[in-house]
């Protein structure tokens, strides 16, 4: 009797350390944030001293044009970054999925940007975008073209380019792994059936890679909504609000404007957005598993 009980408890005991750490490091601050978002809270006050204001912070943000602007920047940034990275990453994977001399070295080089700390990436690109001494403008000078005000007139584009440089490799390696796990014989059958290289990509490779691509895109999307360091270092959100993505606005609201309650409410909006994406991802996975299970059941029923 007692052993049976102990046996049943064993898995929970193994999980307990992780669960406790999760509770302390994740659930507690999260709860704190949600609680704080209902208060008019200044950094000089403890949370208990702050006045409870209900949904005031949320309603304020709902009508705040600056918040809208920031949300718009974030959505635009995430959309362009993920779309372009997907296209380039998958394209590169399709190109490099072959056996040529030095291919492994090439693949390693392609994933290097991903390994650099975001702050370093930001500094690197800020230097390269510098209006007078930056690499790009010096290059434009040398070939006789007019300079471009990278981080001024084209700030958002410039920031997007930097992010693409850093995160395309992520999509590249996942796509390459997906490609290399495709059934070789199906591709050979397609060649015999008369498919050209393009037709193989469109009719066989991409459809078969799709589950991996969807998950990859969602992961990148979630990441893109949270991006902070690179933009903070490159533009600090400027000029104006042109590159002030949500994460940056949250941090400024808390530190510069000293409105912890509003910052917390904004974080919650972002959290809800990310939760929706995550739930979407899980739903997609579940849907796929359910479909696979249904197919198996159908086969077993017949045999």
């Amino acid at each position: 009797m007692r052993t049976a009980m102990a046996n049943r408890l064993t898995p929970y005991m193994f999980m307990a350390p992780a669960a406790i750490i999760m509770a302390i490091a994740l659930m507690y601050p999260l709860g704190y944030m949600v609680w704080g978002s209902f208060r008019d809270w200044n950094p000089s006050q403890t949370i208990g001293e702050a006045e409870f204001v209900g949904l005031k912070n949320y309603i304020f943000l709902w009508n705040d044009p600056n918040f809208h602007e920031s949300l718009g920047v974030t959505l635009r940034f995430a959309f362009f970054v993920v779309t372009i990275e997907m296209v380039i990453g998958v394209g590169l994977a399709l190109l490099l999925d072959r056996e040529i001399r030095g291919i492994s070295l090439l693949r390693t080089m392609f994933i290097l940007p991903m390994m650099i700390a975001p702050v370093v990436v930001g500094l690197m690109w800020r230097y390269m975008y510098h209006p007078t001494v930056g690499t790009f403008n010096r290059f434009l000078d040398s070939i006789g073209l007019p300079r471009v005000d990278w981080l001024g007139d084209y700030a958002l584009t410039s920031v997007i380019i930097a992010d693409i440089w850093q995160w395309t490799p992520f999509i590249f390696i996942l796509s390459l792994a997906a490609l290399q796990s495709l059934p070789r014989s199906a591709l050979e059958a397609a060649r015999i059936d008369g498919a050209t290289g393009w037709q193989q990509i469109i009719h066989i490779k991409l459809p078969l890679m799709m589950p991996v691509l969807i998950v990859t895109a969602l992961l990148r999307l979630i990441d893109a909504f949270k991006v902070l360091e690179v933009i903070l270092v490159m533009t600090e959100g400027g000029p104006g609000l042109s590159t002030e993505i949500l994460a940056l606005r949250i941090s400024r609201t808390a530190t510069e404007f000293r409105e912890l309650g509003v910052a917390a409410a904004m974080s919650n909006y972002l959290l809800i957005l990310l939760l929706l994406l995550t739930v979407g991802m899980f739903a997609f996975n579940r849907w796929q598993e359910a479909r696979a299970a249904r197919l198996n059941a159908l086969v077993e029923e017949e045999s």
Binding site: P183, S185, A186, E188, A189, A190, R191, I192, D193, G194, A195, T196, Q199, H203, I204, P207, L208, M210, A292, L295, N296, L298, V299, E302, S303
Partner: protein, 362 residues
Amino acid sequence: MPTIRLDNLVKRYGNVEVLHGIELEMAENEFTVLVGPSGCGKSTTLRMIAGLEDVSDGEIYVDDKPVSHLEPKERDLAMVFQDYALYPHMNVAQNISFALRLARRPKSEINAKVKEVAEMVGLTDFLGRKPGALSGGQRQRVAMARALAKDSGIFLFDEPLSNLDAKLRGQMRAELALMSQRVQKNMIYVTHDQIEAMTLADRIVVMHGGYIQQQGTPEELFKRPVNKFVAGFMGMPPMNFLDGALEERVGEIWVTGEGFDLKLSGEIAAKAKAHSSREVTLGIRPSDLSYDDAADPATALTLDVQVSEYIGAQSVLLCKCGSAQVMVEVNSESPVALGQTLTFAVNQRGVHLFDRTTENAL
């Protein structure tokens, strides 16, 4: 449908040569089976014909036109793969019609073709299913239907039945034989299973170690193997081999070895007389030995029966002849008890002799 000719076909992977100059001609509408143990080069040969592997040296001719520089799709062929190679994201109808859709044939023609081949392989009720929702046998049929729909002159099979269970394999083998009679095409079939080869082939090509060992009708290969490898590979249960020496005694030629002394007569005796070397291997199929107490000891083997494997109407006796093992196929009704030493008459027409060093038949 076209003739195929392989001219001195060589395949190298780096410095390793795996096919050493294959010479082969396949006539119109012939069912050719390439058979051999794994690693013998049969699949590589097929894949070179398909265009999935590069030709290192030599040439492949289809109707006397060299094709080795052509892409698979330019070679007018269809192929059935061992793992079926279906497109998992397409349903059965889409799988079957893929090649036709790529070729931009009119819709009505595609639909008619899909219907026709689906009926032929019995898949009409499953056209809307994805491969994941089909059993192994059904998937195999889809692969077959997909190849049929292409209307190519050449049909390639790469071990198409080896992923199926034994019962289904037998059934599909019969269906395949029926289909090959109905559709007049040049078929090349690769297998490691000599029963498949025997039952399906117009012509069998036995390969071993990157060389063709022998080619001919199933009967030729079974009755007149050119060397010990082919003799041992074709036929189930396999041929018995006993090392011995040729001796001439008063005008008769005998083959003698540990535990046996056999007088030869007829054609094989003449061949043995003419042969220069005396060191030979005697080969006798289990079915060419028959239990006969009254047999003349000069044309019989005396064997210790050790194990009897009952397989229905027939039983296979595992016996000892000296230190060598000999299998005998007998009617299960034969009164044979284990542990006995019995006399088995040798069918002289079924006696094979192989040179011990070259392993070639005399």
